[in-house]
């Protein structure tokens, strides 16, 4: 699953030494990622991405490209770093008070496995509580996972909310 098939930024760097992660390993990785997000360990979350990764939350169902259509979030690696740095700021008013979140991950399947990488499809439900209001988000995640020197890394992540085209209040916490 890619958006814009030929762009260099969307291509994977081949990981030579070892094979693509297997299902059980991927599931453990997704649960680890969800835990980092729920616990607000955003720096560690950022560390899960490759140096040229992108992170995408489309604004339309089955959106083909982040280039010619708006997105709820579309961060290249540079912007993702800025996003995470901002989350640590005491002046991030949209996170004052902070959200508390709880994520459930399920229905994990492998798609498009090749020698070096795998695309993992999963379903998620996310409860977000902030200032006397609870919101619920849900949808499908696609992770492109590669094996780096320090373990599995995310080459790209796409999050399709079932209500991506609904009116939303601010979405400050990453999915």
């Amino acid at each position: 699953m890619t958006h814009g098939t030929s762009d260099a930024w969307a291509r994977l760097q081949p990981i030579a030494q070892s094979g693509a992660p297997a299902l059980a390993e991927c599931e453990r990785f997704l649960l680890h990622e969800a835990r980092l997000l729920d616990e607000g360990r955003f720096d560690e979350w950022l560390g899960l991405f490759t140096p040229d990764a992108w992170y995408w939350v489309p604004a339309e169902p089955a959106q083909v490209s982040p280039r010619d259509t708006i997105s709820l979030i579309y961060d290249d690696r540079r912007l993702l770093e800025t996003r995470v740095r901002r989350l640590a700021s005491p002046r991030i008013y949209s996170q004052e008070p902070r959200s508390r979140t709880s994520r459930m991950i399920g229905n994990v399947t492998l798609e498009e496995t090749d020698a070096a990488a795998v695309t993992v499809r999963s379903k998620f439900q996310l409860l977000e509580y902030r200032r006397e209001t609870q919101r619920i988000f849900g949808g499908t995640c696609l992770h492109r996972l590669v094996r780096g020197e320090n373990g599995i890394r995310i080459a790209w992540k796409r999050v399709d909310l079932v209500n991506c085209d609904a009116p939303h209040e601010g979405l400050a916490v990453p999915f």
Partner: protein, 462 residues
């Protein structure tokens, strides 16, 4: 509602101050829907969204669901999205293409211009029912008009023409359209819908507020200023960071380099003065070089320079439209209830410009108008916090007086602030608000910050 008199309304606005009730009173909100959204020219869509006969787009004025339609004769129609039979909403989708509209309840069908086409069981209706009666239709909104592709509707049968209503603001639309090498815009790239729990008026009141970015957006300014440019970017992040860093401009920049202009009927724009340095700097971008070449091929060097010299930022058209001509963004503010608002934001493609220009427009949209952006999320928080704060009756009178003494007449019949940190545009909106909400009031008796300035503008017009 009829309990609210013109005097009650007038008592809510004082020179440089406004009563909190204008943002919190449900009865005033209902009156706004009736008197402002029920009479003013309201933006309902762009002609490019209904290019061909049969194309339609769901839109609205206030809470009324409407359809913008290109009819069989290629005319633009604005119809109430409502069946003449039992009143149900006929079209449930957000847009598309059709040869007729058909109600899902009893199968009444309508022509693209709203006339009744056919209805089953017509023999069963009483003698007073006439299918040829023009009111047996998806009724047309009384007035619809376009300015350079931007379509507005008015629920009032009488009133100023669209161009008279827009006045000098037509030049902001010109600025946006003239930037297209082919002289046309196309709505493209999807629509953001963001919501907040506070009054609809707060949105436009923030869009020309040059004094808030340094505070409200401090988290993204700091994060962007600390961001290393050595980290991989596909270009989209670079544009976002540039904008966030710009938000960190000190007050001296806003006070020395940026101006605010206001015009009758509540309109305004924020703009800096002509600045060739920025234009030259921008030419380092190869896509921008190609764009300039396309513009010069069509307009010649001099005219291209004149078009691109216009450095307007947000242009606000009262009561609920704001657009940014330089980055082809347009926002429509939809009041839902006295303390619930939804804003739809659109992007436009400059026809004849390199594709990369539109990618920049999208990156900019994600940064400035995105529901998950590092910037807009804090604006939405501010609106909701104002809503929460105004629930208290502690501060009965809110200040809109910044720059009060510095208002100056403008050569096009408006007034400008001494510089962009003036709240003149909010005061200007409340003058329009009063004129529509308490229509019996004469212009001269509107409580106003401008006093002597009003007279001098009147003098200039003579």
């Amino acid at each position: 509602m009829s309990a609210i008199t013109g005097d009650d309304i007038r008592a809510l606005v004082r020179p440089g101050r406004v009563n909190r009730r204008v943002y919190t009173d449900p009865d005033i909100f209902e009156l706004e829907l009736e008197r402002i959204f029920g009479s003013a020219w309201i933006y309902v869509g762009h002609e490019s969204q209904v290019k061909n006969p049969g194309d339609f787009l769901a839109t609205r004025i206030g809470r009324k669901p409407l359809l913008l339609v290109r009819d069989a004769a290629s005319r633009i129609q604005l119809l109430h999205n409502q069946c003449a039979h039992r009143g149900s909403m006929v079209v449930a989708s957000s847009g598309g293409h059709t040869s007729e509209f058909r109600c899902c309840y009893h199968g009444w069908t309508y022509h693209l211009d709203g006339r009744l086409k056919a209805a089953p069981l017509l023999h069963g209706y009483p003698s007073h029912f006439d299918p040829d009666n023009p009111e047996a239709a998806m009724l047309r909104v009384p007035r619809v008009a376009s300015y350079r592709g931007f379509v507005f509707g008015s629920l009032a049968a009488d009133g100023p023409s669209l161009e008279d209503y827009l006045g000098h603001m037509t030049t902001s639309f010109d600025d946006m359209v003239d930037r297209a090498p082919d002289g046309e815009l196309e709505a493209a790239g999807g629509v953001f819908k963001h919501s907040y729990k506070a009054n609809w008026k707060l949105y436009l009141e923030n869009l020309c507020d040059a004094a808030h970015p340094l505070f409200t957006h401090q988290s993204s300014i700091d994060a962007a200023q600390q961001q290393s440019d050595a980290v991989h970017s596909d270009g989209s992040g670079e544009i976002a960071l540039r904008q966030m860093r710009q938000n960190g401009a000190p007050y001296s920049f806003w006070e020395a380099n940026v101006g605010i202009w206001t015009y009758p009927n509540g309109h305004s724009f924020l703009g800096d003065y002509h600045d060739d340095a920025k234009l030259v700097a921008a030419m380092n971008d190869p896509a921008f070089r190609d764009y300039i070449a396309a513009m010069e091929a069509r307009n010649g060097k001099e005219k291209t320079k004149r078009i691109l010299e216009v450095r307007r930022w947000n242009s606000n058209v009262y009561p609920n439209l704001s657009f940014t001509s330089q980055f082809q963004q347009l926002r429509v503010v939809h009041p839902i209830s006295v303390n619930e608002t939804v804003v739809h934001t659109y992007s436009f493609r400059l026809k004849g410009a390199p594709a990369r220009m539109f990618e920049n427009t999208i990156s900019f949209a994600n940064t400035v108008n995105g529901t998950g952006s590092l910037v807009l999320t804090d604006d939405l928080e501010i609106y909701t916090r104002i809503g929460l704060g105004l629930a208290s009756a502690g501060a009965e009178w809110l200040e809109i007086g910044r720059g009060f003494a510095g208002d100056l007449p403008d050569e096009h019949g408006g007034r400008r602030g001494k510089n962009s940190t003036s709240e003149i545009y909010i005061r200007n909106m409340f003058e329009a608000w009063l004129a529509m909400m308490a229509p019996d009031v004469r212009q001269a008796s509107v409580p106003s910050a401008r006093g002597a300035t009003l007279a001098s503008v009147a003098d200039m017009r003579r």
